[in-house]
Amino acid sequence: MTMTMPVGTAAELGGAEAVRARTPLALAFERIRHDRMALACSIFIVLTTVAAIAAPLIAHLVGHGPDTQYLGTGLTPQGLPRPPTATFLFGTDDLGRDLLVRVVYGARISLLVGVTSSLSAMTIGVAVGVLAGYFRGITDAVLGRCIDVVLSLPFLLAAISLETVVGPSLLISILVIAFFSWAAVARIVRGQTLSIREKEFIEAARSIGTSDLRIIRVDVLPNLAAPVIVYTTLLIPASIAFEATLSYLGLGVVPPTPDWGNMLAEATGYYQVAWWFILFPGLALLAITLAFNLLGDSIRDALDPRGDSLLVALRRRR
């Protein structure tokens, strides 16, 4: 198709380039690309991910292992953590370990738990929400009650009980966080599906004898993409904070594995003497959650330039 619009000169349009039809997703992507805040956040997230993957390399370059205790050089004669120096850029912790290396290693756990639990919660939530919203009736009644029950659980207490019973581990943390996050997704998806299934194109699809499965796959799911993408992006920082909270309470990742939550828990005992011990893990945690939240906001603005309606549906976790 080579159709040029009589708007502006050829130069303004960037040469003799033809005007192309663009899908809403392509338009949204274009908007995000021109959003400096979104770009900065994406770059920060990518850099953090690279650093997390390359953590052993960084540890090798610095010359300090993540769990190695430098009792001679890493502690003051009184046995206290050392402030940042040329050898220990972020200072050391209470056991004389290099904080820089441990903060970098901590990013691995945070990102791994944040991303995998959010993706699992999203998958379960979309499946349950679509089934409940599309089939309605008894399916909706049963699934709807499940959603209600999970949303009424005192999730932090329940998470603590679960972790205590099964014993804390990385996998359990991911499962627990996913278990307490899917219901909110399901509730939103169910609402969206309820309104989508009443649209004319669904009726049209049904009238030509399309199966339910195909209607869900071809007509319903693509229309759910926007809210689901936004919600998942905003779920990641919430999961990261949730994981850090569990580890802070001593229920997530088991020491000595470096994790921002358990580092902060150790640091709480030293906040009067070692500010760096709190500052660096705390800053890392805040920066990554802030970056994901800002990115989520930008994606939402790009996909839906009008509304903040999704934000209203977001439940805060504490």
Partner: protein, 319 residues
């Protein structure tokens, strides 16, 4: 309305029943031996057997669950495995602590959140709006425990170093004993809980206000010649406050069951603290009471929210 209330109460009871069953199942699936834990490391098998018999732990799980329901029907939550104190008296004093913490913080975050949200929404894309939005996103991204540590460091420790002991770093004084000390001891926990929550309310209020300000009835109110203040607070805010009310009810409901993290950081003897203790020591009667109580608060809060919603917004009909 009546049918709605009956339906919601039934659902609430169902939720609570599921939760008690879940706690029981979890407890007995767990590879811990509570009798062993209570009897101590050096106990003989006979002692352990005696302890488990005394606590009724040797009976089948179904029987134990039935005993629990039976006691519950008589208004008795059972006795702690460790101190043998009745669970009701164990929790009674702590509910006041958690309620003081939750309600005080709630007042603060509602005041901050709604006022900043209105300020941001009525001047969209202005400097105050942008800075408030950025600031609230910062607090919103901060896990509660992190803000708690920061507050403790800056407002307790740094002030203490500077020779100003404005706020104590931990402890609790009952309101009935000394109202001023009560507020002084709760000030920092209130602040750290309220700041993270207020951020969410700023965003929520801003979004709701922006939606409402574009509606016809707001234009009509302005066209009638009402003052800007009347339009914003009398007409727009009243309609925009409904989603805020919903969130507020749910948040307070959750917090009444104990703010685990905040209580831990500031050493407050509330429900959250005893919950963690009893979970670690596997004190089943206490665990089940707290988890059920906390869930009941959430269920009740949801119910209240739905009713208040219908009262505030005449367009809402309860099915």
């Amino acid at each position: 309305m009546i049918t709605f209330l009956v339906r919601r109460l039934t659902l609430g009871l169902l939720v609570l029943w599921v939760i008690t069953v879940a706690v029981f199942v979890l407890f007995f699936v767990a590879p811990h031996n509570v009798a062993r834990l209570i009897a101590g490391k050096l106990a003989t098998p006979q002692t352990v057997a005696l302890v488990s018999q005394r606590l009724g732990l040797n009976k089948p799980v179904i029987d134990q669950y039935w005993m629990f329901l039976d006691r519950l029907g008589h208004g008795n939550l059972g006795y702690s495995f460790y101190s043998s104190e009745p669970v009701t008296s164990l929790l009674a004093g702590r509910i006041a602590v958690s309620a003081s913490l939750a309600l005080g913080a709630a007042v603060i975050w509602l005041a901050i959140g709604v006022s900043t949200g209105v300020l941001a929404a009525t001047r969209p894309r202005s400097l105050p709006d942008r800075s408030l939005t950025a600031l609230s996103l910062g607090f919103y991204s901060m896990p509660t425990f992190l803000l708690g540590i920061v507050v403790l460091y800056l407002l307790f420790f740094r002030l203490h170093l500077a020779g100003v002991d404005l706020f104590p770093g931990s402890g609790y004084v009952p309101l009935t004993a000394d109202p001023l000390e009560w507020a002084r001891h709760l000030a920092l926990p209130w602040l750290s809980l309220a700041l993270t929550a207020a951020a969410a309310y700023t965003r929520l209020t801003r979004a709701a206000m922006l939606d409402v300000l574009g509606e016809d009835f707001v234009r009509t109110a302005a066209a009638k010649g009402l003052t800007r203040t009347r339009v914003i607070y009398g007409h727009a805010l009243r309609a925009a406050i409904t989603p805020v009310t919903t969130q507020f009810g749910i948040d307070v409901g959750i917090l009444l069951g104990g703010a685990v993290v905040t209580e831990q950081i500031f050493g407050l003897p509330g429900l959250g603290q005893i919950a963690v203790q009893s979970i670690v020591t596997q004190d089943l009667p206490v665990i089940i009471a707290i988890v059920t109580l906390a869930s009941a608060f959430v269920v009740l809060a949801n119910l209240v929210v739905d009713v208040v919603y219908a009262v505030l917004d005449p367009r809402v009909r309860l099915e």
